[in-house]
């Protein structure tokens, strides 16, 4: 069974240094002495903690619930006591702190009562999605989009092809490679489950052509129902849009999603997590993480979520120092972190230690067009840069800035050493901030209008009370006098009545 492969434009070919970690079996990282679980480990709304400080939790017990549709629950990685719920540093490019649940493990690693599903084929796809959602599974490829949202596409739309993405195009990262080699059965079974959930007509597992062992491992497990494809090694072949283009020749519409062309894509690690969730009811509490670069023993670790980056690095014989930098993720899209005490979250695939080199001097753009040739989306990075630099955000949108996948190819080849990707992120976040500001202003405007209307109504309501009497009946002096006398007598009567009541009360 062979499938015609297509080429995506641009991209880069470079050395990937994967052999070092791809050949060493992953080991289970020991239980850390503290587990920090951020309530937001996915794209979407943060989960809401359901446990209290001091409460004892079991491994796999839900400790935070989903808040809305694009949100997922969170589970305790091990049994222990919740010692704090508060702000701790999280993996964030702006070095922010966010709400985290901190657990002190009791060392027993006791499991919560989890429910396996007997036969997934008999389960309604909708229910399968609910299982996956309740197990807190996000896309493990890097973006961290809640998995059930993508699975739900199968209910709303017709899914032509399900692609399971095993293409790790970033250098150094081998966690998916190792996972496939060691748990190929999980991946293949998980793939079948996802396929059932989205009701896909075709199903493809794609790996890169420099992962021969992973390919063999998968080939042992798959039948004719799943296509196994090797794609040529090129960066960023593992990007969603690029892999779809490579496998199907279709282009994801600008500003659209893969589902618009009938394709759903999940990561191999997501497939494995789905397998565990369905067959054992096991929530997502651990993942494979590649520790690579300038550490003593680079390798893959199976780490409980919430373990600190520093712990993992120490396990591989590295003590953080000034001369090295820690990158979460690969060298092309990874995030430089200065504080190694942040936790590993669902989307952390690699910890890379690299010699610190000062940023090269940025020169002005000479319009050489190398970035255009490298861009896998065929954007014009030089024009985007020119407009982002001058804060001309409307124009950057004309040049489709939101189609940029921030793969870093343009910055990689730029002879002027311009941090192009950084400029694009700046422009994107500024546009988003501007939109929020505009929304806020719109809300304020509406509320002000309502407020004014009400104030106006109050004034109107007060004003007519007098003129109504005057105009409706044009009373003579006698009538007026009668009216006034009547009112006075009524008041006196009322007063004497209250006096009586008061006297009575006093006497009692």
């Amino acid at each position: 069974m062979s499938r015609q492969l297509y080429e995506f434009p641009g991209g880069l070919k470079f050395e990937t240094f994967k052999e070092i970690t791809a050949t060493i079996p992953a080991i289970q990282h020991p239980l850390p002495n503290r587990i920090i679980l951020p309530v937001r480990q996915h794209i979407g709304i943060p989960s809401v903690p359901t446990v209290r400080k001091g409460e004892h939790v079991l491994k796999g017990q839900p400790i935070a619930e989903a808040d809305g549709y694009v949100s997922i629950p969170l589970h305790a990685s091990t049994s222990g006591t919740v010692i704090d719920i508060g702000d701790y540093p999280v993996p964030h490019a702006g070095e922010h702190e966010a709400t985290c649940i901190v657990i002190e493990p009791d060392g027993k690693d006791e499991w919560f009562d989890i429910q396996p599903t007997d036969d997934y084929l008999t389960v309604d796809p909708k229910q399968l999605q609910e299982i996956i959602r309740s197990c807190g599974i996000t896309g493990l490829g890097g973006a961290g989009f809640p998995a059930h949202v993508k699975l739900n596409e199968g209910v709303v739309n017709i899914v032509d092809t399900l692609i399971i993405n095993g293409v790790e195009c970033e250098p150094f990262i081998t966690c998916d490679d190792r996972l496939i080699q060691e748990k190929a059965h999980y991946v293949v079974s998980g793939t079948r489950m996802i396929r059932h959930a989205v009701q896909a007509k075709h199903c493809v597992i794609a790996v890169e052509d420099d992962m021969p062992k992973a390919y063999e491992a998968l080939a042992n497990w798959i039948d004719d129902d799943i296509e196994l494809i090797k794609v040529p090694k090129r960066y960023p072949a593992g990007g969603e849009k690029q892999l779809i283009q490579t496998l199907t020749g279709k282009e994801v519409p600008s500003g659209g999603l893969a589902i618009h062309i009938g394709i759903v894509m999940h990561n191999v690690a997501t497939a494995a997590a789905v397998y565990r969730a369905v067959t054992r009811g096991e929530p997502l509490i651990s993942r494979y993480v590649t520790i690579a670069g300038e550490v003593e023993t680079p390798r893959n670790l199976q780490v409980l979520l919430g373990t600190s980056v520093n712990d993992c690095l120490k396990a591989c014989g590295y003590e953080h120092n000034d001369e090295h930098m820690i990158i979460l993720g690969g060298p092309m899209m990874g995030m430089h972190i200065r504080n190694p005490d942040i936790p590993i979250i669902k989307t952390t695939n690699c910890i890379l230690v690299k010699k610190l080199e000062p940023a090269a001097t940025e020169l002005p753009c000479i319009q050489c067009g190398d970035c255009y040739n490298a861009c896998p989306i065929k954007l014009m990075p030089q024009e985007l840069y020119r407009n982002a630099k001058t804060d001309n955000f409307a124009e950057t949108q004309q040049y489709h800035i939101f189609d940029c996948i921030e793969c870093g190819c343009c910055s990689y080849v730029c002879p002027s050493n311009i941090p192009l990707v950084q400029y694009f992120r700046y422009a994107k976040s500024q546009i988003a901030a501007e939109e929020r500001r505009r929304d806020g202003a719109d809300l304020a405007r509406k509320r002000f209008l309502e407020h004014n209307k009400r104030e106006q109504a109050k004034i109107e309501a007060k004003r007519p009370s007098r003129p109504v009497i005057e105009t409706s009946s044009n009373p003579s002096m006698d009538e007026k006098r009668n009216y006034i006398e009547g009112a006075v007598s009524r008041t006196l009567k009322k007063r004497s009545k209250t006096k009586k009541i008061l006297d009575k009360r006093n006497s009692d």
Binding site: F8, L12, F14, E95, K241, Q245, E251, V252, P253, S254, G255, G256, H320, N321, D322, M325, I327, G329, P331, M332, M333, G334, H336, R338, N339, K354, L356, P358, A359, T361, L363, P364, C365, I366, Q367, C368, G369, Y372, P376, I377, K378, L379, M380, Q382, E383, H400, D403, E406, G408, S411, Y412, V413, C414, P415, S416, N417, P419, V421, Q422, R425
Partner: protein, 345 residues
């Protein structure tokens, strides 16, 4: 927390730099310059050196005035490229002070007033040459005749005499002797205007097998360097192909229309600054179009203008004019040839 500068992705780079790009351009000009020296004496080397010295001086002053870092911009290499290209466009017999004026004008008006490297609209070398050509037409029409060996004593003497000892006050054609002459292109234009036939003109001693004697070989060596640049990936093939292709096509059409009035395609391509412009001047990334289709249009406009000015214009070689006019059109070309992105259709 460790005190480091927060870096952003990607944390890798392919090691390319503006400097290496510019140096490769300079290096690929070496075969052309060597051939030039072989046929026309060492005047061109003197011009190159003078231009580089002047350019570095002027650039340093301008950078200081604009409060930019000398360490960054003097080493980016763009100033060497401008200087050498300017020197290759002017006559090897140009007096030193004209060279200086040209460099000054090019760097001040075409480069730094627009904001320096990367922001200029017009190619500084071409602008400088156009300025010189308009201001000192006589000096720009005196070119050395081809000589057949490197050890011509007279040519060295001549070069020195013309470059350094030319009296400024009595500056006219009478100051030049028989070792200088008009370029074959100028000669061709003048004699065609005097109703001579192409074939007759081509028989005089100034002409070689395809174009001007000596000039054809210089052009071929430029071509070799240019192909090297394309092979190295420093420039793309679009602009040279479009320029040479359009010059070839236009000259072929008119040559077929009347062989006696219009010289052959090869004559046009191998004469004057056509190949130098196609590979080195017009491909200056800053001033050229950035989109693939735009590059082809830009090149075609230059090629068409080169041919039009040569055939019907007042100047024997319109390369610099053509490039500057096309430079001015680049923003519009780029606007209308914006490529489609993935998923836009």
């Amino acid at each position: 927390m460790i005190n480091q500068q927060l870096l952003t992705s990607p944390h890798r780079h392919d090691g390319s730099s503006v400097r290496t790009k510019m140096l490769w351009v300079c290096v690929s000009l070496i075969p052309g310059i060597a051939c030039y020296t072989w046929f026309f004496g060492p005047g061109i080397l003197i011009q190159c050196l003078l231009a580089i010295v002047f350019a570095l001086l002027v650039e340093s002053v301008l950078l200081k005035i604009r409060k930019q870092k000398l360490s960054v911009f003097l080493l980016d290499g763009s100033v060497y490229v401008t200087a050498i290209l300017f020197a290759l466009m002017i006559s090897p017999f140009t007096p030193w002070w004209i060279n200086f004026i040209g460099i000054c004008f090019g760097l001040v008006f075409a480069k730094h007033l627009y904001g320096g490297l990367g922001n200029n609209i017009f190619n500084p070398a071409a602008t400088a040459y156009v300025f010189i050509l308009l201001c000192f037409p006589v000096a720009m029409n005196q070119w050395p005749s081809a000589i057949d060996g490197p050890s011509q004593e007279t040519s060295i003497k001549n070069s020195f005499k013309y470059i350094f000892l030319m009296p400024h006050d009595s500056y006219s054609e009478n100051n030049y002797d028989s070792t200088s002459s008009a370029t074959p292109l100028a000669d061709m234009q003048n004699r065609l205007a005097a109703m001579e036939m192409v074939n007759e003109i081509r028989t005089s001693s100034q002409y070689g097998n395809y174009a001007g004697k000596g000039w054809e070989w210089v052009s071929i060596f430029y071509l070799l360097g240019g192909i090297g640049l394309i092979a190295l990936g420093v420039i793309s093939w679009h602009i040279p192909v479009a320029i040479l292709g359009s010059v070839f096509a236009f000259s072929l059409i008119f040559n077929m229309y009347d062989t006696n009035l219009y010289p052959s395609s090869l004559f046009h391509i191998l004469s004057g600054g056509c190949i130098l412009a196609a590979f080195f001047v017009a491909t200056d990334p800053v001033t050229a179009s950035a989109t693939p289709i735009g590059k082809l249009i830009y090149g075609t406009i230059i090629g068409g203008l080169i041919y039009a000015i040569r055939s019907w214009g007042a100047y024997p070689d319109g390369v610099a004019f053509a490039i500057i006019i096309a430079n001015g059109l680049v923003p519009m070309i780029d606007e209308y040839t914006r490529p489609y992105i993935i998923g836009e259709n």
